[in-house]
Symmetry: C3
Subunit: 162 residues, 3 copies
């Protein structure tokens, strides 16, 4: 009985973590800063987003996020892919997530398509799952500018080293 309950708990936790990351990606695109805040643990965390920056608490990240993303000319799409969620206990899990990212910058007329993957660690804090550790690695970029609607590729290939 305890065993069955633990197995149910594991499945519930995996579902909760999948939805946490879904909520995070959706909030990134909707520029919903308060929802993003709630996706991360309070206190010390580790965010390594490469060229975007490295952050040790959520407010430091949100400040850069607001500066870079929260403009009407930045039209973003973050779609999480291929979730591999490893449940370690009722308090801790890790995951690998692939990302498909697309951005239209209507000011510079630049289209960026990007792929990569996250390595994440999650903990349960005050009864809900949150991100405590996340590292994103870019695996490909394809960047195009439009001039009078005519596209020109600036870069297509592996990510340039940061």
């Amino acid at each position: 009985m305890q065993d069955l309950e633990r197995r149910i708990q594991r499945l519930e936790d995996i579902e909760a973590i999948r939805q946490l990351k879904a909520r995070y990606f959706h909030a990134c695109d909707r520029k919903d800063v308060e929802t993003l805040r709630q996706c991360f643990a309070e206190g010390e965390i580790h965010i390594d987003y490469g060229v975007i920056g490295r952050f040790n608490d959520r407010e430091a990240f949100l400040s850069v996020y607001k500066e870079k993303a929260c403009h009407s000319h930045i039209v973003d799409m973050h779609h999480g892919q291929n979730a591999q969620i490893h449940w370690l206990s009722e308090q801790e899990a890790t995951a690998i997530w692939d990302l498909f990212f697309h951005q239209i910058d209507t000011e510079t007329n630049t289209i960026t398509q990007l792929a990569g993957f996250y390595k994440d660690r999650f903990i349960k804090q005050s009864g809900k799952w949150v991100i405590i550790d996340t590292c994103f690695t870019i695996t490909s970029t394809y960047i195009t500018t439009l001039s009078d609607g005519i596209p020109k590729a600036l870069h297509a290939g592996l990510a340039p080293m940061a």
Copy 2:
């Protein structure tokens, strides 16, 4: 024991709803009208697909779907993303789903990439989950025409207001 069973039921329902929406998207691309029909509730429903139309029963929607999509020159791709499924009871759930859509129209040589999100409500009818309420909001469009293979962007950015 009843509590454990309810927790299992919740997880089964979330999985059933996730697969219902997957079946819906796959059927959209395969032009499988009968499977689409089975994804929606019988009787009065609410479908708000913006520029595509608003419908109060599934036959009204399917009629427009057949007119717009069921042609060999329309090559569609509907991929559901970032599922956030909220189980309310054994009879009702809501969800937010992001969409990545891509269309090749081989008659007009137009390529449309589109992102957006659904707000859905599901009920259990005759023992199976179906869509009773769905509203889709476009968040970005990127439309290109090809002339002798040379692309020209017609629109890249936020969706034009409908």
Copy 3:
């Protein structure tokens, strides 16, 4: 009680299969041949990847995979979509998966976007789920070459018949 356990088992198996396919796609992109090997059953299997080939054991497939994909100029993205997983028993399941595929070939400056779907059968072998039967059907391709950054579409539409 036995019934509850069987229902939990079913949910655990569906999650395990979802993560198996996620692991497979992620390994395809990371060129992680050993992880790919572990995704397939030992012994006789059926892989029908259309123009890529048909294979009756995993080594035959991996050999072609290594030849085609394991080069630094091949930058791949395999994202699984719209999973429909049908659990038949604790030993067998089938599934339909849509795919969004993107490839940058930095040697030929060719960009390939491709959509399609898998029909898969899975079994449990030595206690873990593996792929025993998989058939992939292409539903659209969009192929572009870049010359000094200027794109030209070679093909956009339904997949050419193999």
